[in-house]
Symmetry: C2
Amino acid sequence: MNPTSGNAPDSLLKLENFLCFAIYSTANAVTRAYQPRLAALGLTYPQYLVMVVLWERENQTVKSIGDKLSLDSGTLTPLLKRLESAGLITRRRDTADERQVLIGLTDEGRATRKRAEAIPIAIGQAFGCTLGEAKDLRAELMTVRDNLIAGIDKAK
Amino acid sequence: MNPTSGNAPDSLLKLENFLCFAIYSTANAVTRAYQPRLAALGLTYPQYLVMVVLWERENQTVKSIGDKLSLDSGTLTPLLKRLESAGLITRRRDTADERQVLIGLTDEGRATRKRAEAIPIAIGQAFGCTLGEAKDLRAELMTVRDNLIAGIDKAK
DNA sequence: ACGCATTAAATCGCACACAATTAAATTGTG
DNA sequence: CACAATTTAATTGTGTGCGATTTAATGCGT
């Protein structure tokens, strides 16, 4: 028996069986769901994630932020410049190691945290699952994610 | 007790508790995992999804493809033009309804299907979970996705 | 039949993602 | 200490996603 729906020999190439499509499409839906709430703060979804990382700890390097979000400088550098233009963060070279750029928060960036606190609650409700289910799903996804990343790194 | 990790009052704003980040980051990892295999076929991941939809049924409208993938014409029109330039699909106005554009497959587009059949198997292994676990995870994600989309539509 | 709302694609602008490359600073090794 | 390897950001180019608008075709109510 094929554990996915249907028994046709090509069922592995059917969209409805694709875990990857479920992940891809849910991610797009997440961005769209956040968009109106984040627009009120002047943030995009990736910018919001960067702010979350900085609200946890200020003065991190681009590399540190990139490790936490799995994003490289090609994505982060222009994004951080936009956050700087918006007056939410600061960028300065680390005098101890001139290769690094330290990202800090402005007063406005810190203040935005309070306005953001209502968002996870609202979005959590939009997911339509309990906190326990959300936690389990999150754990399963992070396992899959780490497996995928390990496979990518191994190939290099 | 807070069912997410930690009891700090701000734990809802911690990255490690974010289901949405798990989804976002896993989706990025999926794209990166597919990239080397799809590059051998000359496809990007979204282009591959469009091809999967067309391999299931030829001569669909842009709207039909967009409904299945939750993508609009702003994303699909340029993507489809690239697939046409690559010689994999055909685009022609529906003579019965001139608003619609019918997307078909070329011989090369159909032939690419055979070369793509090994990909879901390889990626499935990279996920590092059983087919049963993948099926369950897929179902949970699609439920979350549909809930999010329903919330977005309701807001309009 | 007329006109108006609806629908389908295309277009435009902005912001990611990421591969690949470049430039500069630091580390490590002989 | 020299100098090659490594590390960190920035840059460049391609391809999405999506909001917003535009254009053209169709449907629908009177």
